[in-house]
């Protein structure tokens, strides 16, 4: 069923697919023609009449055809920690997971905090010829939360939004200035809300479980407290804010109030917090040591509802590779984070399988929505759009074996779990990227 890379110059058609395109609100039989890297034709019918003989035909046999996924939160180890993950290995993992565009976090070593670093990442990405790579720029120099980074120059160089990634910008004055300055360039600022004092040293969510396990824990309100500040400053400055990885029911209420009020805010949820709760920590399993930490089942249910209602705009993998030596430690000493590029789509499809949300809404949160938020020409299946496409057998159960993941690091909390959806082919600009 998969076309070979050498065939890229030749136009091809995918017929007999179940096409889901959130932009047109369509979920039904579909077919596309791809030529010269773009979608030359997209029809809402099982086949296309009068295909010329030079077009190679791929029969999807009812498999799901969707726009390539756009993942707004990916960490690699390049530069600085290449044994964890390189751009190349992350790109391969992305292709294996149906992710055709990924936004890299700037908290590398050195940080992506000046235009030369943005340029470096973009050049490296071009050399790899994998999925589309977009760097996020640091909001402050070295992601230290003190002095503003060159937001305007990085924006010109190609940074798609600005953030200090996992490091909170504690100083409200600094954050306010970052927001108002970024606004002048139409740039969005992302911030993961966590009160730094309440969260200091914590590796779990405060509650009966963390208390019994003797883990140092932060109360769930640590998220709401910082989110309220961020929302107030976004309102004050009129800047665009991405509330990065909302995880608690409490914070969702704050988010709703702000959105209702017209604050320029969009919000993400990580696939991990949609899939797991704190009980998964069990006997100190460090693959479930995440930052933000896993929450209660009530929080998870609220998050899924918020995704279905659109209060949560996008879903991210929060891909954070950590090698075995950083995970094979006591829980509190283990590195936080999980790899997720390869499991994002099957985990979302598993949520759909569980009857939690219509497929098209889940797909929208990883395709059209992130494209709109960043102003990317992607995330749609329509004539003239880049042929970033994913074909997946959406009914097939897939058992995740962490050791067989493409990512250099194998820290997947989905290890041993059965998800839904076997990936068949990923196309980027009409080229097959097989992740091998």
């Amino acid at each position: 069923m998969s076309a070979k890379t050498g065939a890229e110059a030749r136009p091809f058609a995918i017929v007999g697919a179940r096409l889901v395109d959130p932009a047109s609100g369509y979920d039904g039989p579909g077919a596309v023609i791809v030529a010269e890297g773009v979608i030359a034709e997209a029809v809402h019918a099982p086949s296309i009449a009068h295909l010329s003989a030079d077009i190679a035909v791929i029969d999807a046999e009812g498999a799901l055809l969707i726009p390539g996924l756009i993942d707004l939160r990916v960490k690699t180890g390049e530069p600085g920690s290449e044994p964890k993950e390189t751009l190349k290995s992350a790109s391969r993992a992305a292709a294996r997971g149906g992710v055709t565009s990924m936004v890299l976090q700037p908290d590398t070593d050195p940080a992506i905090d000046d235009p030369a670093m943005v340029d470096f990442i973009l050049r490296r990405a071009r050399d790899i010829e994998g999925v589309h790579v977009y760097p996020a720029g640091a909001a402050t120099r070295r992601c230290e939360g003190e002095r503003m980074a060159e937001i305007g120059l990085m924006r010109e160089a190609g940074a798609v939004y600005f953030t200090d990634a996992d490091r909170p910008i504690v100083d409200s004055k600094v954050f306010r200035r970052v927001l108002s300055y970024a606004k002048a360039f139409g740039a969005m600022v992302a911030h993961r809300p966590a009160d730094p004092w309440l969260s200091a040293g914590a590796c779990a969510t405060e509650g009966e479980l963390a208390g019994r396990l003797g883990l140092s824990a932060a109360p769930a309100v640590a998220e709401r407290i910082m989110l309220e500040r961020d929302l107030a400053l976004a309102e004050l400055t009129g800047a665009r804010l991405l509330a990065d990885q909302i995880t608690t029911a409490d914070a969702l209420e704050s988010l709703k109030r702000a959105k209702d009020k017209g604050v320029q805010v969009v919000a993400s949820a990580s696939i991990n917090h949609l899939s797991f709760n704190e009980v998964d920590i069990g006997d100190y399993r460090t693959f479930y040591r995440l930052d933000p930490p896993l929450r209660t089942e009530d929080d998870r249910q609220a998050l899924i509802e918020a995704l279905a209602s659109g209060l949560i705009d996008i879903v991210v993998s929060a891909h954070a590779p950590a090698p075995a030596e950083d995970k094979r430690l006591p829980f509190s000493e283990a590195a936080p984070g999980a790899v997720g590029l390869e499991t994002l789509l099957p985990a979302l499809l598993a949520l759909h399988q569980d009857g939690r949300a219509p497929l098209i809404d889940l797909i929208r949160a990883v395709t059209l929505k992130p494209a709109e938020i960043l102003g990317l020409d992607a995330g749609r299946i329509r004539k003239g759009a880049p042929a970033d496409l994913v074909l997946v057998d959406a009914a097939a159960p897939v058992r995740i074996d962490a050791d067989r993941l493409t990512s250099k690091s194998k820290n997947s909390p989905f290890d041993g779990r059965t998800l839904t959806g076997r990936l068949l082919t990923t196309w980027v600009d009409g080229r097959v990227i097989d992740g091998a």
Partner: protein
């Protein structure tokens, strides 16, 4: 006191095979297992009081004490217990080993494992460290304290002390007082004492009480006087000095005023009340010397003695399982 020969018969009669390869938490014990361990430990007390304290349950066995946190009391208690059972013992502590050179806990465990010890006794500052080790080694692991999680042999020795002093544990009201938040002793005791039928109160300032402790089956009380009222046993917890300087409580003197155990507060408890402390004590902080040294109420010295017997019971029953599995 039974005759020496009777003691050996008693120990043999009460011999017990541990239900699992490791002893990681008091919460994992069943009531019959706990009763059997206590009964065996009680027999070892007699042995420990005679001139010849040696037996052979662990002859040929090697026990490694791996203490990442220093503890003279617990480490020597395990060492004595092992030696009296005839084992070879090795003490290792991280400051003198290669742990400081970047070797991880797992690396150390794997290295030690290759030397074929039979029992690894581990203490570590991180919760869950003993569980982690147990997954990576082929010998038995005994948790001698992992962060703020559990210290199961302490709970066992406390139960043994209470049983010998008061008879039955079922029906007793035990007030565990002080820094419950950071205390592994408290968590293990809550599990074991409730298993044995005691009702447990957790008493301390809100800042030193873990969130959700009221769901452990114990009653959480912040007022020390209310918490002590009618209690049969008062178990004091050690308060680390660095937690008292405005971090968790405003000052030492304020803490002593409201949560320190003195005779005045103790008078609210049952007339036959007994006082315990896992040691080492901060005299004048969580406990007044008058109380700690009062032979009429204090079981603190007994606890130390019972520690060796309780650990002998654990080690010999783990060895019995090793013998059986082999």
């Amino acid at each position: 006191m039974p005759e020496p020969a009777d003691i050996e018969e008693l120990i043999a009669a009460r011999a017990f095979r541990f239900p699992s390869r490791h002893f990681l938490s008091a919460a994992s014990l069943s009531r019959p297992d706990a009763e059997a361990l206590l009964s065996l430990a009680d027999a070892f007390v007699g042995l420990n009081r005679r001139h010849d304290k040696k037996t052979t349950a662990l002859r040929g066995r090697t026990l490694v004490n791996l203490f990442f946190e220093s503890s003279t009391r617990t480490q020597s208690s395990f060492e004595l217990a092992a030696k009296r059972l005839g084992a070879d013992t090795v003490n290792m502590s991280p400051r003198t080993s290669s742990m400081t050179k970047g070797e991880t806990l797992i690396d150390t465990a794997v290295t030690l494992n290759a030397m074929k010890p039979d029992i690894l006794v581990v203490r570590h500052a991180a919760s869950g460290a003993a569980d982690l080790l147990a997954q990576k080694v082929s010998c038995s692991v005994v948790n001698a304290g992992d962060g703020g999680h559990e210290h199961p042999t302490q709970a066992l020795l406390d139960a043994l002390t209470l049983k010998r002093a008061l008879g039955d544990i079922a029906g007793l009201t035990v007030a565990i007082c002080g820094d419950v938040l950071h205390s592994r002793v408290a968590r293990s005791n809550v599990a074991l004492l409730q298993l044995l039928g005691a009702s447990v109160r957790l008493v301390g300032p809100p800042t030193l009480m873990p969130s959700g402790a009221d769901q452990w089956g114990a009653v959480v009380i912040h007022d020390m006087r209310a918490g002590l009222k009618g209690a049969d046993v008062v178990m004091m917890l050690r308060l680390q000095l660095e937690r008292m300087d405005g971090a968790f409580v405003p000052s030492t003197r304020e803490y002593f005023r409201f949560w320190g155990l003195d005779h005045e507060k103790l008078a609210l408890a049952s007339p036959k009340v007994k006082v315990m402390h896992p040691g080492p004590m901060n005299r004048g902080v969580e406990i007044d010397s008058d109380v700690a040294d009062d032979p009429a109420v204090s079981l603190i010295q007994d606890q130390v003695e019972m520690g060796v017997a309780a650990r002998m019971a654990v080690l010999s029953s783990l060895a019995a399982r090793l013998d059986h599995v082999r």
